[in-house]
Symmetry: C2
Subunit: 333 residues, 2 copies
């Protein structure tokens, strides 16, 4: 065990894409767990689009990361020292431990996971928060009915890939929008989507007319921008638009509003936003369902693994360039 | 009874505000009612913001008015000849009879109203379709709870004025946005709103912070544009945004999308669109409720009466200039 703990601390409010100069790479002694606490060694850092928003000094569903604070991030790791009866050294856990190599935490802030059932980083993806996000957003807000058409953007990403698979598990059609032929092949061949639309090379409005002839009943939006407008233009009556994210906009100073929002009026449709934290009390339900489907071979949980703690900034930016397929994590141990 | 029937027919698709040259003023013989039909003489033509959208050649909740067709409009008038047992000459009725002095209709397409309970044009306003729009949009979608804050734009208009009154009848706070001191005084003094914000002379975001310190629980939007964005920025958790119209945008080639729509995500809020026609089967419920409140003196139904059939175009444009207070009608008989 190294005696040092490296950390990425937020040094400045980024303007556009994050840069190295927005962070301070600090080194501290590994902390000691207090009474009732455990020490976790990070093995995988989760890279999530929402992290970009947490760096802005704006009112949101969580406070912004303060200047000088360790950058907020999900982590999967191993308990290396425990002063608690709830967890033992050697236990695998996930939690919001930040971009650092070690962290002290209380057991109630951690989730114990079983690496014999799935690779550890899968618990940061389809079996973790992105999976829960897909689960509650699609099933609780989108409410797809058998035979209905579910459209999802960012379909090759951590959340979008689960949305499509859950749609299929609920007997709906799954149409995914992703960037490039490789991702499109991935979501159809590996994840079982019915159709993929390559927004980088295809005319999205035309493809939506072709592949959603009866309209879109549920649109799960991870990207915002022009793709949200194209989806709005194609809504079915009483459609549900689920606003989960807007990755195309996170590096912009001002968001592009959906100019086709009056499609909600024409179609008696709704657009509802959520964050997974709203469903905290129901996480066990999502965990049980997703791990069950995974064990039955019905839920694929691909992880895109980058390496090297020092590569945090470049790796985070890969999300916004659309360079990851499946859940993006940074392996650091 | 004149033997002639003057009509405004749509002659061209307007570009921006409607012009005289977009219409053809035609004169025809007064039609004869067929078997089971009645002849109605128009007395008041309803001017509604939605009429502008009906002139565009675009997919919507109703087909566009065809070129050469009589312009679609609500009308209040009197049966002057009847070949039906359902209605007698002398009966007052409303219906979608178009911008013309006479029309033949089947009784099932008309609503018989009682001018002894309220002035005839009120049945085109608070006791008619705008009232039903407010009723279903606010109560069915907005669902205000006692003590919650209901914000409505276009608050001095036909729909907005009823929304605020219904909010008060349901023990919610009513905050209205209107243009100019006279309208602001009207909604507070005559309609009973708690607060008015004058968007022409006041800083709307600042006034919303001041008058909605706990956020907006229900925002009933009639205007779109910057005011929609200001309201989104002020939503309370689990707020409901009701999209009823976007009068600030109807003369634009492209709508301004709400750039603050991610407030839906931050606040776990929803934005739902509707048109009153969705509630056709429940019109009797709204009619009974609204006429009941009106009879009890709890619902004010002000009408802004313009005169002269030939002034249809200028009168319609008054809506988009914000020149009417209460329901705008054109008296023609």
């Amino acid at each position: 065990v190294s005696a040092q703990n490296r950390q990425f601390r937020l040094g400045a409010r980024p303007d556009g894409p994050v840069k190295h100069s927005d962070f301070e790479l600090t080194t501290e002694p590994v902390p000691e767990p207090g009474e009732g606490e455990v020490l976790v060694r990070s093995e995988y850092i989760s890279l999530d689009p929402a992290m970009r928003g947490w760096m802005n000094d704006a009112r949101s569903y969580v406070p912004p990361v303060g200047l000088g604070e360790v950058m907020r991030a999900g982590v999967a790791g191993t308990v290396v020292a425990s002063n608690s009866d709830a967890l033992n050294a050697g236990d695998a856990v996930t939690g919001m431990l930040g971009v650092q190599e070690y962290a002290v935490a209380k057991p109630q802030a951690l989730i114990k996971v079983d690496p014999s059932l799935a690779p550890l980083p899968a618990y940061l993806g389809a079996l973790g928060m992105p999976g829960w996000t897909a689960y509650f957003g699609l099933l609780d807000i989108g409410k797809p009915q058998p035979g209905q058409t579910v459209l999802v953007s960012g379909a090759a990403g951590a959340v979008g890939g689960v949305v499509g698979q859950l749609a299929k598990l609920h007997d709906a059609r799954a149409v995914g929008i992703a960037g490039g032929p490789a991702k499109c092949e991935y979501i159809v061949q590996e994840l079982g989507f019915d159709v993929a639309i390559d927004y980088k090379h295809e005319d999205v409005p035309r493809k939506l007319r072709e592949h959603c002839p009866d309209g879109v009943d549920v649109y799960f939006d991870n990207v915002g921008g022009d793709i949200l407008d194209a989806a709005l233009a194609r809504l079915a009556r009483k459609a549900r638009v689920v606003i989960c994210g807007a990755i195309s906009q996170y590096n912009s100073a001002e968001f592009q509003g959906p100019k086709n929002y009056m499609s909600l009026l024409i179609n008696n449709a709704s657009m509802t936003g959520f964050v997974v934290f709203n469903y905290f009390s129901r996480y066990p339900e999502a965990i049980a369902a997703l791990t069950g489907w995974h064990a039955e071979g019905k839920l694929t949980a691909r992880v895109d693994v980058a390496e090297g703690f020092e590569n945090f900034v470049e790796t985070l930016n890969r999300l916004f360039k659309g360079e990851n397929t499946g859940k993006l994590v940074l392996k650091i141990a």
